[in-house]
């Protein structure tokens, strides 16, 4: 190869020169020596160590190293080489292993000489000989979303067209039959004949309710010769409560339904069964599918939740439980990595289930085949980052929400009158404040002290009071108070007490100095926050909150943060106001101490073990800096810091995310430190709950408030006391005589009284001071007594209020079951994680729906996640996928194969629709008919296509062996659930009870491992339908698994139908089947005086919905005789009958439907 000479300096000089030399950059070649150096030292090194991952065949981290151009362009992290500058070249940093994050080659460091050679080569300007002879790099196909969208069928709008003309006009019963028949006619094929009535009713029963018909139901159908006979059966089945059970099981496969989290200890997903019951009810109620989808995505946010028709509870929110049915790790070392895996599973399930798309494939790179970008993936993950988990008390939430609203408006309505009446009764004493202050001062200075002793004798005090025309008792109280206020700097009358005790003769300079010291003290306290919080970062301040940051589970923290001047109402008519708050805070309303869990409610495993449901305050999400958090709180409570949405706190790690504390005496605010330094740079939100009410203590112990959350290196200063008023008062009064100071006190207190009476405290700029003083007056009735009939006047004013309040409180729904559900947070967007690596965040992407369906416009919602918006876009009829995918699923379950045979993947790698027009026809009908699943099923089941027999025309089989054109109804094996349920039905042991906690897994000796339940469930699952059996991820029911029940890890819209000996062994030798066979035999023998033939006849009718053929009857009775002989027992022996029942259960006809 000829090389151009571009470098003029000698290689030897380069290699020996220590001085940095800037080399001319060769464009297309290098001189011979540089080339030789490259060819001898560099190219082999690159080829051996780098090209495997960074060349034409693979581009790890988006990087190629097989040409100079690619090196300069670089990969995800930027250019690999800066010619002439090894110290700036990532390639060199990587091979030096200088950076923890970037060590290359990954399998071990290069030899020192090799590293040196590479450095030198970069220093030389990275000369690369002419590459003209090398094979050109294959053009990397650009990801073109718009083109992919336009080229693939699934993205195209639903084309509703009229059914095609057919030659055989007699065949179609339904419009959809035209599509099928037209297809067959085009291929020159005939549809199979109509199935006989026995076959048809058995098929319809299993398909619609998952149980076989009972003999009398078959007989009725056979006897009904009216043209609508089959429609009658179908309508009955659609109306049966068992319909929801059957179709819910199909649905549960999609959402990887399980009730434990798998992983090491298989912890419970508490109350997951509530979601299962929700699905059953929704399907039975035929909830429009678009609404059903909306409830899954944003059931917690819909304006008018769907209510249970009789119980009145919130159904809609239960849909959101599906997000939490996945696997969860109890103690991940890489907590953020774990989060990205959890979210990946959620996105995977969500997009496959509702859209038939594999969006999760775009986690690491643009989708390889579909019009789905990495940005699409990460914009969807933002919705989940903006939402969190809770156990929602769904049974009580609506009622309590209403009560909370009514309580709030009731309080708003009555508050002005009540506070006015309170203020009015206090005013006369406030108007005398200066007099009492002066009298008390005089008393102190004339030695009427110590007050208590003085009061005991009483004489001097009595005289003294009389002299001033004051009430002796009240004056004594003032003396008492000033006596203690002398020591208490927080007391509003502390300065007054100091001055009073300082004596008559205190000179004005000394007096001024005393006051100055006090003023300085107040000022210092009040100026502290601004200065010392500089090094702190406020994460949330409930005194200064944006509306979108007010987040809670339930209503216990009221409709908004509490402001200074807000009052707490009690239930005592003489004292309807218990407290006037002076601090802004998220304040727990102790009324909600009444809340409790319904008895068998399952609790969250792990260390977040307190009652959160309905009484939790959630902060907005923040990213941790130093990680040292301080919570300004009042009362006893718990905090849980949800870092990277990890919340299964049950292992050696992450216990520090949980913090509990006891309140300071007197409800004083205190800073609670929560050290999260291990989680720097990670996302977090806090969840605060009060400690559970302690039955042994009065309710007020659970007084609980969060004022502020800051991140700070130092403990933040004590929160400021309300003292600005006093500082002002003293400043103004420093030079004035005592009378004047007393007047100033009185003026302040009169203003407090006035503003309280006018209910304007909260609006005042010094609301905190006013509210604090108002409450102080309120808390010291001995100093500010009311007249004798004040209590009556207040009671009068508050009577109606208190009665109504009591009524409302009595209506609070205290007890509730809970269910996993979403709780909306503030809006958080995700970054594109470069190649799916969570340590490499790239560009931030706003939350939005898929670009191919809705364009790239952001739909971020300042107030929360925006999931409701997402749900609306998903279910908008212009999105062809939701309706198509569901219509196809219904078809799949009725025919054993969808029109699109890959029901969870409508993408390029999925199957093409065998009948695209039919699919669109069904999808359009589905939407037209109000998204009614039952109507869709009804239409299909009543069609001629569905009613074809299982025996195809041999010509059709030859022409279309895979039955793509649907020329007959394929024979299908029942699912494990249907087999088990059918066994229970015929044995007479089926318990048709619906809903409720799952029946625990029956533990065979083969179900082993960590997290194995302590006790086994019953062998027969208590006779309940299979849908009610507990699904434990790590202890899946062996019988169901043998019959292909899916492992719940992702969406499974199409179960595999396998054929394994475990199926035969379970039916032949499994104790469950053997036991049920005995029950069945006992049942059929219960009616006496029947011939064996009649009994055999009934068994066949029950098992197969047909009578035995004469040969079969003969075989069966013969068999009974032989077994009797083998048992060598009398005719009363049940065992031969049990054996016969057992054989019938093992017959293929029992587990296959035609």
């Amino acid at each position: 190869m000829m090389l151009h000479v571009a470098l003029t300096l000698k290689l030897a000089a380069i290699l020996t020169s220590a001085a940095p030399v800037v080399w001319p950059v060769p464009d297309s070649g290098s001189d011979g020596e540089a080339a030789e150096f490259f060819e001898r030292n560099i190219r082999p090194l690159l080829a051996e160590n780098c090209f495997q991952c960074h060349s034409a065949r693979r581009q790890r981290a988006g990087l190629r190293l097989d040409s100079r151009e690619f090196m300069l362009k670089g990969g995800d992290r930027g250019p690999a080489v800066v010619p002439g500058k090894p110290e700036q070249s990532r390639l060199i940093k990587a091979v030096e292993h200088a950076d923890e994050e970037l060590k290359m080659p990954p399998k071990g460091r290069l030899k020192d000489g090799q590293v040196a050679a590479l450095k030198n080569w970069v220093k030389m300007g990275a000369p690369w000989p002419d590459q003209s002879n090398e094979s050109p790099a294959p053009a990397v196909q650009e990801f073109d979303l718009a083109r992919r969208r336009s080229e693939h069928w699934a993205w195209q709008p639903i084309q509703s067209r009229s059914p095609p003309e057919v030659a055989d006009r007699g065949w179609p019963r339904s419009s959809l039959d035209h599509f099928i028949l037209a297809g067959l006619e085009t291929a020159g094929l005939n549809p199979a004949s109509q199935a006989d009535k026995r076959t048809l009713i058995r098929r319809a029963y299993f398909d619609l309710i998952g149980l076989p018909p009972e003999p009398h139901q078959v007989e009725e159908f056979l006897a009904d010769e009216s043209p609508g006979a089959f429609a009658k059966v179908v309508d009955g089945l659609l109306a049966s409560p068992h319909f929801g059970e059957r179709w819910a099981r199909h649905w549960l496969d999609l959402v990887r339904y399980a009730e434990t989290r798998g992983h090491e200890f298989d912890h419970l997903i508490p109350n997951a069964y509530q979601y299962r019951d929700y699905v059953i009810r929704a399907l039975n109620a035929d909830v429009p599918y678009d609404q059903f989808v909306t409830e899954h995505i944003a059931g917690d946010l819909v304006e008018k939740p769907r209510l249970h028709p009789t119980e009145g509870f919130n159904e809609s929110i239960l849909g959101t439980g599906f997000w939490f049915l996945g696997e969860e790790v109890h103690s991940p070392v890489d907590i953020r990595g774990d989060e990205t895996d959890r979210i990946d599973n959620k996105i995977d399930v969500m997009t496959k289930t509702f859209l038939g798309l594999t969006v999760a494939c775009a986690r690491c790179h643009e989708h390889k085949f579909d019009a789905i970008s990495t940005k699409d993936y990460y914009s969807l993950t933002g919705f989940l980052l903006s939402s969190s988990y809770r156990q929602v008390p769904f049974e009580s939430m609506e009622q309590n929400r209403r009560i909370a609203r009514e309580l709030e408006s009731l309080r708003e309505k009555h508050r002005p009158a009540i506070v006015r009446s309170v203020a009015d009764t206090q005013r006369p004493s406030v108007e005398q404040l200066a007099e009492y202050l002066m009298a008390a001062r005089d008393a102190i200075q004339s030695g009427v002290a110590p007050p208590s002793a003085e009061r005991a004798s009483g004489e001097r005090l009595q005289a003294f009071a009389a002299k001033h025309s004051l009430d002796a008792e009240r004056l004594a109280k003032w003396l008492d108070h000033l006596h203690s206020a002398r020591q208490d700097v927080a007391d509003p009358f502390h300065p007054w007490a100091l001055l009073a005790f300082a004596g008559e003769n205190i000179d004005s300079a000394k007096r001024a100095q005393l006051l100055r010291t006090l003023i300085d003290g107040w000022n210092k306290k009040n100026s502290l926050p601004n200065d010392s919080l500089n090094s702190s970062r406020v994460i949330v301040d409930y005194a200064n909150l944006r509306a979108c940051e007010w987040l809670q589970d339930g209503v216990a923290f009221g409709p908004r943060a509490c402001r200074p001047g807000d009052v707490r109402f009690g239930s005592d008519s003489a004292r309807p106001i218990v407290e006037i708050y002076h601090r802004a805070a998220a304040r727990y309303d102790t009324t909600w101490d009444l809340l409790q869990l319904a008895p068998e409610t399952e609790r969250d495993p792990g260390k977040v073990a307190w009652l959160q449901a309905g009484r939790t305050l959630r902060t907005p999400t923040a990213t941790l800096g130093s990680g040292k958090l301080f919570y300004l709180t009042q009362g006893s409570g718990h905090a849980f810091a949800a870092v990277d949405s990890h919340r299964l706190i049950a292992g050696p790690l992450h216990g520090s995310l949980v913090r509990s504390w006891d309140g300071a005496p007197g409800g004083k605010p205190q800073w609670i430190e929560h050290n999260l330094c291990d989680y720097r740079g990670q996302r977090v939100h806090m969840e605060f709950s009060p400690k559970e009410p302690d039955a042994s203590k009065p309710v007020s112990t659970s007084e609980f408030a969060i004022l502020k959350v800051v991140e700070s290196d130092q403990p933040p200063p004590e929160p400021p006391l309300p003292g600005r008023w006093l500082a002002r008062l003293l400043t103004d009064g420093a030079e004035k005589p005592a009378e004047s100071l007393a007047q100033s006190f009185e003026q302040i207190f009169l203003r407090v009284n006035r503003e309280l009476g006018a209910d304007t405290v909260a609006d005042s700029p010094d609301a905190m001071d006013l509210a604090w003083l108002a409450n102080w007056v309120f808390a010291h009735p001995e100093l500010f007594p009311s007249d004798s009939n004040a209590a009556d006047r207040i009671a009068q004013t508050s009577k109606a209020f208190l009665e109504r309040q009591a009524e409302l409180v009595a209506q609070i729904k205290r007890s509730s079951h809970t269910a996993p559900a979403l709780l909306d947070g503030n809006g958080v967007d995700e970054f594109v994680l470069v190649r799916g690596n969570h340590r490499k965040p790239g560009e931030r992407v706003p939350r939005r729906f898929l670009e191919a369906l809705k364009g790239s416009e952001s739909m971020a919602d300042e107030f929360g996640s925006g999931r409701l918006n997402l749900a609306r876009q998903m279910t908008d009829p212009t999105n062809p996928l939701v309706a198509r995918v569901m219509a196809n699923r219904v078809w799949h379950h009725l025919f054993g194969r969808g029109i699109v045979a890959s029901p969870d993947n409508f993408g390029v790698l999925g199957e093409r629709p065998a009948h695209p027009e039919l699919l669109d026809f069904l999808a359009a009908r589905f939407v037209e008919h109000g998204w009614s699943i039952k109507k869709l099923i009804r239409e299909i089941v009543l069609s001629s296509t569905y009613q074809m027999s299982g025996q195809p025309d041999p010509r059709a089989v030859q022409a279309d062996a895979r039955n793509l054109l649907f020329h007959h109804m394929p024979v299908r094996r029942l699912e494990g659930e249907a087999i088990r349920d059918a066994i229970l039905l015929v044995s007479g042991r089926l318990d048709r009870t619906m809903f409720g906690p799952s029946v625990e897994v029956y533990l065979t000796p083969f179900l082993e491992g960590r997290g194995r339940p302590q006790t086994s469930g019953p062998l027969d699952g208590a006779g309940r339908r299979s849908v009610y059996l507990r699904v434990r991820r790590n202890f899946l029911d062996p019988l169901q698994l043998a019959f292909d029940a899916p492992v719940p890890f992702t969406t499974i819209g199409r179960r595999i139908v396998s054929n394994v000996p475990a199926q035969a062994l379970a039916l032949m030798n499994g104790p469950f089947v053997v036991e049920q066979a005995k029950h069945w035999a006992t049942r059929v023998l219960a009616e006496k005086n029947r011939t064996d033939e009649a009994r055999v006849n009934e068994l066949y009718m029950m098992a197969f919905n047909r009578p035995p053929s004469p040969t079969e009857l003969h075989d069966a009775t013969g068999f009974l005789g032989e077994q009797w002989t083998r048992y060598a027992s009398g005719l009363e022996d049940v065992r031969p009958w049990a054996d016969l029942c057992h054989v019938l259960m093992n017959a293929k006809e029992f587990i296959f439907i035609q």
């Binding site: 399998k107 071990g108 460091r109 798998g262 992983h263 090491e264 790790v329 103690s331 890489d334 895996d341 995977d348 594999t358 494939c361 579909d370 050696p652 790690l653 969870d904 790698l909 999925g910 299982g950 024979v971 065979t1004 000796p1005 083969f1006 179900l1007 491992g1009 790590n1034 062996p1038 698994l1041 043998a1042 492992v1047 890890f1049 992702t1050 595999i1056 139908v1057 396998s1058 054929n1059 394994v1060 000996p1061 475990a1062 035969a1064 062994l1065 379970a1066 032949m1068 030798n1069 499994g1070 053997v1074 053929s1109 040969t1111 075989d1115 068999f1119 083998r1126 054989v1143 093992n1146 017959a1147 293929k1148 006809e1149 587990i1151 296959f1152 035609q1154």
Partner: protein, 478 residues
């Protein structure tokens, strides 16, 4: 779950006819393979291979795999990776940046309680913890630079078994059986011999994931009833046969009424397979015919019960190989304390775990070799990760996925090899790092399969055991 899965695909009608013609039990491997496996175009690309059925991508070196799963993570620095620095710095704080560990209770550097000695022709050092395995080092390739992606048992177990840290992927035994079928017609192709400990993550470590349930690992328990629902419940053979006879008539009637549909015929044939298995398993598990010498070799006469349990497992593993079972995984017996997961009391716990497996493993290698089976049987000894060189607390070791030791022997492996290295502490792999995907790629390679072409389409992707990774470790191949 996981019981009695045969490797066979649902038999097609054609296959059933073949079976009937030959009588049950004479089914050729080719027939068993049918048309099920390697449905993806990449996998079934057999172009240029002539007309003879070539079932693998290249000539295989191994026909069977025995995976000795060392549950919990044996310590590399106490078994195969001697680190003198630990002796020198015993009791001192470790002089390196320590990454987050599972328990984050980091103690001081802890030396190994066992002495290392060189063994065999190759002189590979093995600690006194494993004196029997030490005698086999010339047949073993020790990989000292294994790494994993996870510090948690469950994720790491799923990763080791399935190439992915989450639940739901097919186990490597399922992949191997799916890829190659089984040569046994009355036993499952993927058998898990359960010594007593089911790994964290549960039975899903042996699952078939998105592959058909046929390829799931079948759990054979230690003890009287090795396989669920295997024994007939009838009091006598005669009673059972009477029932089966009636059943056959009934099913025959169904075929006549409904038609000879593959699905139905397969389900009927399935009962025959189940019935054969009912006979084959007791025969498999009955060790009475094994010589005293053989039993002694494995440690069946040990006075330590866990050793006897694992010895029986190893012996059954050999018998499974002889019966053509493709992939056999062994789980450890319970030694009372814990699996190889010594967060505390390392010395006692590792001693017991070592004692339980050491002689049986060595016995297995020697027995396979003497019978000429080792050449075609790949034996893998591996835990899900290793342990830290510093103590957890005072006397335990925490999880370490950054550098640990596994070994391979037999089919196509170059014995007497050491591959890769960790740093002075034995903490990080620093030379020739081997990832799980590399181990899987190597295993498939030895079985004659190209891991990149061994795919199954699921969820919009052509899935692989090795995901998008994996390089065959050619350096340890013979």
């Amino acid at each position: 779950m996981h019981c009695c899965r045969f490797a066979q695909s649902p038999l097609t009608r054609r296959e059933m006819l073949v079976q009937c013609a030959n009588g049950f039990g004479a089914v050729a491997l080719t027939a068993l393979l049918g048309d099920h496996a390697f449905g993806g175009p990449a996998w079934s690309d057999k172009s240029g291979q002539g007309t003879a059925p070539l079932l693998t991508h290249h000539p295989p070196r191994a026909a069977n795999v025995i995976f000795l799963y060392m549950d919990g993570g044996p310590s590399q620095v106490d078994t195969f990776d001697p680190k003198p620095r630990l002796d020198r710095e015993h009791g001192q704080p470790i002089k390196m940046k320590v990454p987050a560990t599972q328990f984050n209770n980091v103690g001081t550097v802890m030396k190994s309680p066992w002495k290392f000695r060189q063994h065999g022709q190759s002189g590979i050092p093995v600690s006194d913890l494993l004196p029997h395995v030490a005698t086999c080092v010339d047949d073993i390739a020790v990989v000292r630079s294994m790494v994993s992606n996870f510090s948690e048992h469950t994720n790491a177990n799923y990763f080791l078994h399935t190439g992915n840290g989450q639940q739901g992927r097919p186990s490597m035994g399922a992949w191997a059986t799916y890829g190659l079928g089984s040569e046994s017609n009355n036993l499952p192709g993927f058998v898990v011999l359960n010594g007593g400990l089911i790994p964290p993550g549960g039975l899903d470590n042996f699952g078939s994931g998105f592959l058909p349930a046929t390829f799931q690992g079948s759990i054979f328990k230690h003890g009287k009833t090795p396989v669920a629902d295997l024994a007939r419940t009838e009091a006598s053979d005669e009673l059972q046969r009477g029932k089966l006879a009636l059943l056959r008539k009934l099913d025959q009637g169904s075929l006549e009424r409904i038609g000879h549909i593959d699905q139905l015929e397969s389900a009927i044939a399935n009962y025959e397979l189940a019935f054969r298995m009912q006979l084959a398993v007791p025969d498999l598990m009955d060790l009475a015919g094994e010589s005293q010498t053989t039993k002694r070799l494995y440690g069946m006469e040990s006075d330590y019960e866990p050793t006897r349990i694992f010895a029986a497992e190893c012996l059954v593993a050999r018998r499974l190989v002889e019966r053509g079972v493709r992939f056999i995984e062994l789980t450890c017996p319970n030694v009372g304390a814990d699996r190889w997961d010594q967060h505390g009391k390392l010395e006692e716990g590792h001693r017991n775990n070592g004692r339980a497996v050491d002689q049986p493993v060595a016995g297995l290698l020697k027995d396979l070799k003497s019978r000429g089976l080792l050449e075609s049987t790949l034996v893998i000894w591996a835990g899900e990760f290793g342990r830290t060189p510093m103590a957890q607390g005072s006397d335990g070791r925490d999880h370490n996925p950054f550098g640990f030791t596994i070994w391979l022997a037999g089919g196509g492996i170059q014995g007497g090899t050491i591959y890769g290295a960790t740093d002075d502490y034995g903490y990080y792999a620093i030379e020739n790092k081997v990832e799980m995907h590399d181990l899987h790629a190597t295993m498939l390679n030895l079985l004659g399969l190209d891991h990149k072409r061994s795919t199954f389409r699921f969820g919009g992707r052509d899935m692989r055991l090795t995901d998008v990774h994996g390089e065959v470790i050619h350096e340890i191949l013979a």
